[in-house]
Amino acid sequence: MDYSNKLCTQIQDLPRSGIRDFFELVIGRTDVISLGVGEPDKSTPWPIREAVIRSLEKGQTSYTSNLGLEPLRVLISEYVEKQFRVTYDPKTEILVTVGVSEALDLAFRAVLNPGDEVIYHEPCYVSYSPSIKMAYGVPVVVNTREENQFALMAEDVEKAITPKTKVIALNFPTNPTGGIMPAEELEKIAALAVKHDLFVFTDEIYCELLYDGRQHKSIVEFPGMRERTVLLHGFSKAFAMTGWRLGYACAPAPLREAMMKVHQYCMLCAPIMSQIAGIEALKMGASAYEEMRQSYEMRRNIIVSRLNGMGLHCFNPGGAFYVFPEIRSTGLTSKEFAIGLLEKKSVAVVPGTAFGTAGEGFVRCCYATAPELIVKAMDLMEEFVNEVRG
């Protein structure tokens, strides 16, 4: 069969994730120290796993409400109020999803008509542009820059706004840069959204992982934003629950209802085991992740000082668990650097270009890895950099 004539052209035209290509180079090698992951190095805290084992013993294996278990939504509402200082009704404004990725897809599908434009920022997590396209929207990229510590500048956003713009999509702290948003810039973007009557979809999956005593500030907190914001959050990063695939969306009732329609037909509900894990995670609250957060902060300090020490300029990121050092001084492209480092020194980092063309000249290193391995990886990277420079 000639599949090229049979498959959906829209999907055929989607590029494969750059991560996927790199993954295939690394997979099967056992000698690699990987700074290439996008998840915590610890398993889910034991009390959460234990709660799920208990639920399985009790036979809790059924479907749940499309919206998600009500006790979970109540806990989400309380957690969100504490974390973001904004109140959502668990009955009408919260939807439990299969990770933030699903929630983001639902939000795009709920609001976009063909041709509507979505402004998003690069370098970014790999799914933004494809998700927008799969919802028949038009991705409009605004680059963030190292000189601004990869914060999104309101003036850049303003230049990208057209009469077709419908959504601004934000993700801070950001994967892959670790960049965060200064409150004053966030306020300007909020003002733009209000002025141009735009939605803001804000993926705040890393919001618990902030360093140097910072407090998280969400765009939803600014005047006029609650009615136009879809707040996306989940359990993967802070609670080390990536494989459970559990997220949620908080949005005004009509928007939540539209997202729920898509969700009920294509997903039905998030797995009940994951939802039970989510209940236990929220009961634990900060005690589940505070120790991990502190250890990430220490590891960030190690890796940032080592990278700068070997002459790879690296700003000190305020959140998440990634650093995004500039590797231009080696004369290599991002891809050449990552492949060279893998082949010669068996250390895996991800080329910045996997996260958009604005990532050229950078690589992403995840420091959610044992400090001993970070130090070893940095020793090897330093050798590599010195060899390349001759």
Binding site: F23, G38, M298
Partner: protein, 159 residues
């Protein structure tokens, strides 16, 4: 807790350079602070947490509940310190509840521990009674799980 002490309490095997890197301190500062903590007794000592079964250790360990008579001056302290000084006593804590001291006693074999308790411990003036529980198998020591398989491997590269 001082972050330096916190780091060492989790893993005392880190190099000075590594600790300095983590805490953004100079190596000299790290050395100075560790020396100070050792001098004032904040750091009591260092040892590796060994899985003794794996290491081929044939000795036995017992948890001994000890009831003692408190003294007018100093309560339990003098007697507790005296008991703690024996090399056979690895750990010694004053407890709330049905007995006074919980001590961890190590010996070559059952007889060795029994002799220590009968001849050394029980004969100390003020020791009223002892109850000895021998350890059979270690599952977790000093925060480390014994014989646990490492956490599931992560994918080497993920978004």
């Amino acid at each position: 807790m001082d972050p330096l002490i916190q780091l060492l309490a989790i893993n005392s095997n880190r190099s000075t350079a590594e600790l300095a890197g983590i805490l953004s301190l100079t190596e000299d500062e790290v050395r100075r602070r560790i020396a100070a903590a050792e001098a004032d007794g904040t750091i009591l000592g260092y040892n590796a947490v060994v899985d003794r079964q794996k290491a081929g250790h044939r000795g036995v360990t017992a948890l001994v509940e000890v009831k003692i008579t408190p003294e007018k001056e100093g309560g339990f302290d003098r007697l507790a310190r005296r008991i703690a000084k024996f090399d056979q006593v690895r750990e010694c804590f004053l407890m709330s509840g049905g007995y006074d001291l919980a001590i961890l006693v190590e010996g070559k074999d059952l007889l060795d521990v029994a002799n220590f308790i009968a001849e050394k411990l029980s004969t100390i003036g003020g020791v009223l009674s002892t109850a000895t529980h021998f350890q059979l198998k270690a599952y977790k020591q000093a925060g480390f799980l014994a014989n646990s398989n490492a956490d599931e491997e992560r994918l080497p590269v993920s978004p």
